[in-house]
């Protein structure tokens, strides 16, 4: 062993015990499941009518559409701006209401804090129901309930936010350290005292993060809600497309893009500032 001499070859180290196989051989049932899943996927490709030629043939139309959109028509910028503002207002208020209502709901859906197991399961069920029904369906439902316009959209966004925030708020609270909460119970604090002075402060960064994501999500959704008459800029886009006013549609799309981008930038700035 001279210093700087050759390193001993690693090949010398051979285990005497047998190596495990590189891949586990699947059992008969697992194999069957793989085959069925693969067959279903092949059928799904068929079912979705995916077609390369169809896409290639459509490309010129897309190019044509782009050409006809240029230059964007700015003559209707004032009403578009108005609708855009309304869209963001719906998103903001819907998110704020949703976040506020999510807090008590999420407390009920946190096993350690829930007042009763029945309340816990009820809250969990409510949250997953809010989440699984798509926001467009909520919008249709509220249009029937409170009539056309932004109020219906705001309610739809609120319920959608409750489904999203309720789940993540509850998760954040489940993950808080039990120590400080136990210390507060030990000194005679009430349940609301423990929740407000130990659980909420510990979960706050996560709450803010979730609420900001929720605002981004609501901004994107609020654009679509207009399609079913629940207020916002969506209806403007649909009308422009239906009337073949492509330059106006281009302006609307650019405005939507700018709004979504702005909200995302703002939310990531706030996230870094606060957390």
């Amino acid at each position: 062993m001279t210093p700087g001499g050759p390193i001993p070859a690693a090949a010398a180290a051979r285990p005497t015990a047998a190596l495990p196989p590189r891949f586990e051989r699947p059992g008969a049932l697992a194999f069957l499941i793989y085959v069925v899943a693969l067959a279903f996927f092949v059928l799904a490709i068929e079912g979705s009518r995916i077609s390369v030629t169809g896409f290639l043939e459509g490309l010129p139309h897309m190019g044509d559409l782009f050409v006809r959109m240029i230059p964007p028509d700015l003559s209707r910028i004032a009403p578009i701006g108005q609708a855009l503002l309304e869209t963001f207002q719906m998103a903001l208020v819907g998110t704020a209401l949703g976040v506020a209502l999510s807090l008590p709901l999420a407390v009920c859906a946190t096993s350690r804090l829930s007042p009763h197991p029945a309340v816990y399961y009820l809250a969990r069920g409510l949250i997953s129901w809010f989440r699984t029904v798509p926001d467009l369906v909520w919008a249709l439902f509220f249009v029937v309930t409170v009539g056309l316009g932004p109020f219906a959209g705001t309610l739809a966004l609120m319920v959608d936010t409750m489904g999203f925030c309720g789940k993540f708020f509850a998760e954040a609270m489940e993950e808080t350290e039990p120590g400080p909460q136990e210390a507060l119970s030990a000194l005679g604090a009430s349940r609301s005292g423990v929740i407000c002075s130990a659980v909420f402060p510990a979960a706050l960064p996560s709450f803010i993060n979730t609420a900001l994501f929720s605002l981004e999500k609501a901004t994107r959704s609020s654009v679509v809600l207009g399609l079913v008459g629940a207020g916002g800029i969506g209806i403007e886009l649909k009308v422009a497309m239906d009337l073949f006013e492509y330059p106006t549609a281009a302006t609307i799309i650019i405005c939507i893009f700018a709004l979504v981008l702005l909200v995302e930038r703002l939310s990531s700035y706030l996230r870094h500032r606060i957390i």
Partner: protein, 273 residues
């Protein structure tokens, strides 16, 4: 030899400074009376019928090997754990019979200092101390120092001063050192204006110098306010120096119960064998 249970008869109660004595307190008053306390976790029997008396104004150390049931005993006394059997009379009230508001009112008069300070990490030292008053003042006043009335903020600041941390009042609890955190936890217990304080290995996570300092501060504060102290420790020196009375557990049973002056190091070491 020293493993026989000594009757808790004649405990030298230190002189109670006149003026600070609680109304109705006398030399024979018991702040804690435990009878036949048993605790099972599933099949494991962790406490096997413990009887224990703690005299008001007296300082008692609880020692025993890892897993002998010290923390479990302390928790059962405040019903942070539900005892499986037996009775616990804390400050003259049977705690196993209480729930809701009466239980909270009783807990309010008893401090608990944990091995891991258990402060709320994102809140300031001052707010954490203020939390000690939550049982006395319901509602949002004691959730956050900004919402508290002047008198409570003054009192919390005074408690921080007592543990020498007035200059750290605005600092977040998770930015404090281990010794500082433990002192804030002690200040929080002081804020309760407690009659009795439990402490589960209050200095076990501190370095020897800080541990000595915090233990001395803790003991002095409790003596000065004539607070009954019941603490566990693996430092036999702390047990002998800071306690008037010693209790030892071994496998969930009480094996020593007597004045600390009656025991020496060698006798105490025997319980760990």
């Amino acid at each position: 030899m020293a493993l026989t249970a000594v009757d808790a008869g004649e405990v030298a109660v230190r002189a109670v400074p006149t003026g600070t004595a609680r109304p109705g307190s006398d030399k024979t008053a018991r702040d804690l009376a435990v009878r036949g306390l048993a605790k099972r976790f599933g099949a494991a029997e962790v406490l096997k019928g413990v009887d224990l008396d703690i005299t008001a104004g007296c300082s008692t150390a609880l020692i025993g090997a890892n897993g002998s049931g010290k923390s479990t005993l302390l928790r059962c006394c405040l019903r942070l754990l539900e005892p499986s059997q037996g009775s616990v009379a804390l400050l003259g009230q049977e705690i196993t019979a209480l729930r809701g508001a009466p239980l909270r009112r009783l807990r309010a008069r008893v401090g608990f200092v944990f091995q891991k300070h258990n402060l709320v990490p994102r809140l300031s030292a001052l707010t954490n101390v203020l939390h000690g008053a939550q049982a006395r003042h319901g509602g949002p006043r004691c959730w956050y120092q900004g919402l508290a009335p002047r008198t409570l903020r003054d009192e919390a600041m005074h408690c921080l001063e007592r543990v020498g941390l007035a200059d750290q009042a605005g600092k977040r609890a998770d930015r404090l050192s281990g010794g500082q955190s433990q002192r804030v936890a002690i200040a929080r217990a002081l804020m309760q204006r407690p009659q009795m304080v439990f402490a589960d290995e209050p200095v076990a996570s501190l370095d020897p110098a800080a541990g000595e300092e915090v233990m001395k501060l803790f003991s002095d504060l409790m003596r000065e306010k004539n607070v009954t102290l019941f603490f566990t420790s693996h430092h036999l020196r702390h047990a002998l120096d800071y306690a008037d009375h010693l209790v030892a557990l071994r496998g969930g049973r009480k094996v020593i119960d007597g004045a600390s002056s009656d025991h020496d190091m060698a006798a105490l070491k025997a319980i760990y064998t």
